[in-house]
């Protein structure tokens, strides 16, 4: 039999205002197992905690019920108090008589009645509580960063600087991501390459960082502190350690008409290529879908011109297996396809481009060497129309676009418009917008400069239709403030396409058993208080894989994720949550129902030997819970048909005792 102490908190007037706390402590005195009951103004204060500690000693208590606020608020506090008094911390139960009682009732009578019932339920539960001890698991002191854009780069650098080894897996031949494709960055207009490429070099030279470029994560097993990851290093048909990046092979390759992904197909590359001059690693890659030698065995020029002897047509995909303590997802974003937006004629005219294509057109390393020329005839455009929110904030056309705001478009459009007016003052620039959203440091000042100093014509309203006619683009739009229809003959139209998570994010989330929202952005453990952690232990989020964000925000989040990773990797052992599922093997019938519902992949099955009364041995398939992975959600206990699965600290018997106490 337990010896239970009940401690009713007034919480000033928060509880005592609508609950007769003295009546509650009095009523609970007569509950089974209760040997002591009292009330106090602030139970969480030092004085309040001392009351509990003294009572434990004086009355030899084995269990504690605190009738107070939500366990989210002070359960940890009172568990510490219990531990300080020499009790197992899991012998404490909280009856929430504030959020779910005093705050929602106006009448003292009903409030008190409910508080007593909640207290009785907690007492009933504590009667069945058993001491719980958290388990421990070791930590592999190495981190994996998936994605080598600015988010992955910053996270990797911060973790590596703290002294832990980091591997970056990047699916493209080079790290750098989207930022490497940008021209200037808002609101300071510093050149993206000038601030990014030194960081890329830092990554390449850091003794704690390995880069697996042109590689993809194939398989993830294990759990926090102990992930087992298989990485596929795709054959690039060039020996990475020997190639000097001299580019002789690229120059001589006869396959010249391969659309250049880095310039979004606006110019061509060779079959053997280095994506851009500052690529890291600066190593050539052969595109097997374009290379004659790989397709038909006829050519081999690159191998002949390579003085280092780095070309290897026989290279195979390589599988790397490694253990990691923490995984950071930094898979980034892409602009959505414009295929479903035929009203903007993206597929009908080469002069209708996306904003990312515009970045390449104004970039000195881009297809026009930074001269703003329209793609169809390489003429200088005199009238440019920018359309914002193409596919963003699009709830009326959900099958075409995204419901959310892509967040970065207002600012980069202001940047583009300003740069055009600055370099080519003879150009008319229109920006159509639904709202201009510029909440950020120096953002609104930047936008206002575009309007006030650079004379960009901002028009509130959306473009309804764009039709190519001759060498003009007929733009039909509405000016909502002037309440009139506009017809503009444009030379170039730039669409601020919505952004969406990279396509690799969804399968990766499945491998990680990490949750995603309906838009395929990774979900954070708490939207406000744990924004860089996935609900899955040991998995952290960096950059736009979690939601649209600009570069400063991405870098902040990347460093935050790194801090969380470092906090994990410095530990030698991880203490788990003892409130985890545990199967009764004698009752388990091996049906796999629990395995299927487990969102964390914590349940596996093994064949286990059971001695029988006749001294033979029977082998049965039974569920096993990995204590380091289980988060104690309880889904399996509900799914288990034979009632074999129970959640420690929330046993079925305890829950039923609570229900009985409430319904008595």
């Amino acid at each position: 039999m337990q010896r239970i102490g009940v401690f009713v908190c007034w919480c000033g007037t928060n509880i005592a205002g609508t609950v007769d706390v003295a009546a509650v402590s009095e009523a609970l005195k007569s509950e089974p197992g209760v040997v002591f009951s009292t009330n106090y103004q602030y139970m969480c204060s030092q004085a309040g905690q001392d009351i509990i500690k003294d009572a434990v000693k004086e009355h030899n208590l084995t269990g504690i019920v605190v009738c107070s606020c939500s366990p989210r608020m002070h359960e940890a506090t009172f568990r510490k108090t219990a531990a300080a008094a020499g009790l197992n911390p899991y012998m404490v139960e909280i009856a929430n008589i504030r959020e779910q009682c005093s705050w929602v009732h106006k009448d003292m009578l009903t409030g008190t009645e409910k508080a007593i019932i909640l207290g009785k339920a907690a007492v009933a539960k504590v009667n069945l509580n058993t001491p719980l001890t958290p388990g421990e698991s070791p930590v592999t002191k190495r981190a994996l960063v998936i994605g080598g854009g600015i988010a992955g780069i910053q996270t990797a650098l911060d973790i590596a600087d703290a002294g832990f080894p980091v591997d970056i897996v990047e699916k493209n031949p080079t790290i750098g991501g989207k930022m490497a494709q940008l021209d200037k960055t808002f609101p300071t207009l510093d050149c993206a390459a000038c601030i990014l490429t030194p960081k890329m070099v830092d990554v390449a030279q850091h003794e704690n960082i390995r880069i697996f470029s042109y590689s993809e994560v194939e398989e993830i097993g294990g759990f926090v502190g102990n992930f087992d990851v298989k990485i596929k290093k795709k054959a690039r048909f060039v020996k990475e350690d020997i190639c000097t990046g001299c580019g002789a092979c690229v120059e001589k390759c006869p396959m010249k008409k391969i659309p250049n992904e880095f310039n979004l197909g606006m110019d061509n590359r060779r079959a053997v290529y280095i994506p851009f001059a500052q690529a890291v690693p600066k190593v050539a890659t052969i595109d097997p879908s374009a290379c004659n030698m790989l397709k038909s065995g006829k050519c081999g020029i690159c191998s002949k011109v390579c003085t280092a002897g780095a070309i290897d047509y026989k290279q195979k995909d390589e599988l790397i297996e490694e253990k990691y303590g923490a995984i950071v997802v930094a898979t980034g974003f892409n602009p959505i396809s414009m295929d479903k937006f035929d009203e903007f004629a993206y597929n009908q005219s080469r002069d209708v481009i996306t904003s990312l294509e515009f970045e390449r057109l104004t970039n000195a390393a881009g297809p026009t060497q930074g001269k703003l020329l329209r793609p169809s005839d390489l003429e200088h455009p005199h009238t440019i129309v920018f359309v914002q929110c193409v596919g963003s904030r699009c709830d009326a056309c959900a099958e075409k676009g995204k419901e959310y705001c892509s967040k970065i478009c207002c600012m980069y459009t202001a940047k583009h418009a300003m740069l055009v007016r600055d370099k080519y003052p003879d150009t008319e620039v229109y920006v159509f917008y639904i709202d201009v959203r510029t909440p950020g440091k120096n953002f609104d000042e930047f936008y206002r400069r575009a309007v006030e100093e650079y004379g960009v014509r901002y028009i509130k309203g959306m473009v309804g239709k764009i039709t190519p006619e001759g060498d003009k683009l007929k733009v039909q739009a509405s000016d909502l403030l002037a309440d009139k229809q506009l017809h503009i003959d444009a030379d170039l139209v730039v669409l601020a396409a919505a952004i969406e998570p990279d396509k690799t994010a969804r399968p990766l989330a499945t491998m990680l058993t990490a949750s995603m929202d309906t838009n395929d952005f990774f979900t954070e453990a708490h939207p406000k208080l744990r924004p860089v952690e996935s609900p899955t232990a040991g998995v952290f989020l960096s950059g736009t894989c979690q939601g649209p964000k600009d570069i400063p925000e991405t870098v902040s989040q990347a460093s935050a994720a790194a801090a969380k990773v470092i906090g994990l990797l410095v530990k030698d052992k991880l203490t788990g949550n003892p409130c985890i599922a545990s199967p009764n093997e004698l009752m388990c019938n091996g049906c796999s129902s629990c395995e299927r519902v487990c969102p964390y992949g914590a349940i596996t099955y093994i064949d286990k030997e059971f001695p029988q009364p006749d001294r033979t041995v029977a082998v049965r398939r039974v569920a096993q819970v990995n204590p380091a992975v289980c988060q104690g959600c309880g889904a399996c206990t509900v799914a288990c048909m034979s009632g074999a699965m129970d959640l420690r600290g929330f046993m079925s018997s305890q829950i039923i005792a609570e229900v009985d106490a409430i319904c008595k």
Binding site: D342, Q348, K465, E469
Partner: protein, 264 residues
């Protein structure tokens, strides 16, 4: 192949040639249009008010007639097609409407929206096939520059009509090419002609029609082709005198079944 055919009122008076050539060409292409017995006016406009049932009954009767014969239902007039297709969609998706209509008509078995509804253009594209149409051309249009004019009703609302991309349709263009003509690309091809506004505000309707015809001729159109009697009416009356013809006329000409103008 036999299909149920809903001609519609206008095709019996103002737009007789839209009807006669549709039938003749169908025969050439191996399709027999079986005119629905005792069909009634489609109502002209699909009313979006939820409690409006009476004006949609005619469409339901026609759809039920086709279903009883296990035939698709074909119409030529953009407006009729729009009303019938939207009514069919309402039967499929709005249980209350479906229930009301079936109680009112009280057929032996309730109509549940199973009839396949085609516009004549869809019949050509999806059932006959434009390649088959091309094979049957005896009198190709000789590269004549023809401006396809879609208007509103053929393509919208897209979620229901599902005929072609409402912003960048190709069905007329493909037909014109199959017949040996050259489709003219111009921006006003799926803008409104003025529609029924011509009754209320003739000046405004005129500006709409004028814009369409001016835009088409500016890009070298020798004629404008349409499927809609109301579009033809407005463009003829208010446009810039560029000839406006029904697509069935061009089809008949190319297939060699067009009567001499003097006999028509």
């Amino acid at each position: 192949m036999k299909v149920s055919y809903f001609p519609g009122c206008t095709l019996k008076n103002k737009a007789v040639i839209l009807d006669t050539y549709a039938r003749k060409c169908a025969e050439v292409l191996g399709v027999t249009l079986e005119e629905i017995e005792n069909w009634q006016c489609c109502g002209g406009v699909f009313t979006t008010s939820k409690d409006e049932v009476a004006t949609k009954l005619s469409s339901v009767r026609a759809l039920k007639y086709a279903q009883d014969r296990n035939q698709p239902l074909v119409s030529v007039c953009s407006a009729c097609h729009n009303v019938i297709k939207q009514t069919n969609h309402a039967i499929q998706t709005d249980a209350e409407f479906s229930d009301k209509v079936n109680r009112y008509i009280a057929p032996e078995s309730p109509y549940t929206g199973d009839t396949q509804v085609y516009h004549y253009l869809e019949l050509l594209r999806d059932v006959v096939g434009f390649d088959k149409v091309k094979e049957k051309v005896v009198n190709p249009l000789g590269g004549r520059k023809i401006a396809p004019y879609y208007g509103c009703l053929l393509l919208r609302p897209n979620t229901v009509m599902q005929m072609d991309d409402p912003e960048n349709p190709q069905i007329f263009e493909d037909l014109i090419r199959a017949l040996g003509g050259e489709p003219v690309a111009y921006s006003m091809r799926n803008e409104c002609c003025g529609g029924y506004v011509t009754m209320e505000n003739p000046e405004f309707a005129k500006s709409k029609s004028k814009a369409v015809t001016d835009n088409a001729t500016a890009f070298g159109a020798e004629c404008i082709v349409t499927a809609c009697p109301l579009c033809k009416y407005n463009l003829d009356k208010n446009g810039n005198s560029v000839p406006v013809v029904y697509f069935t006329e061009l089809l008949a000409e190319a297939l060699g079944v067009k009567e001499d103008e003097t006999n028509a």
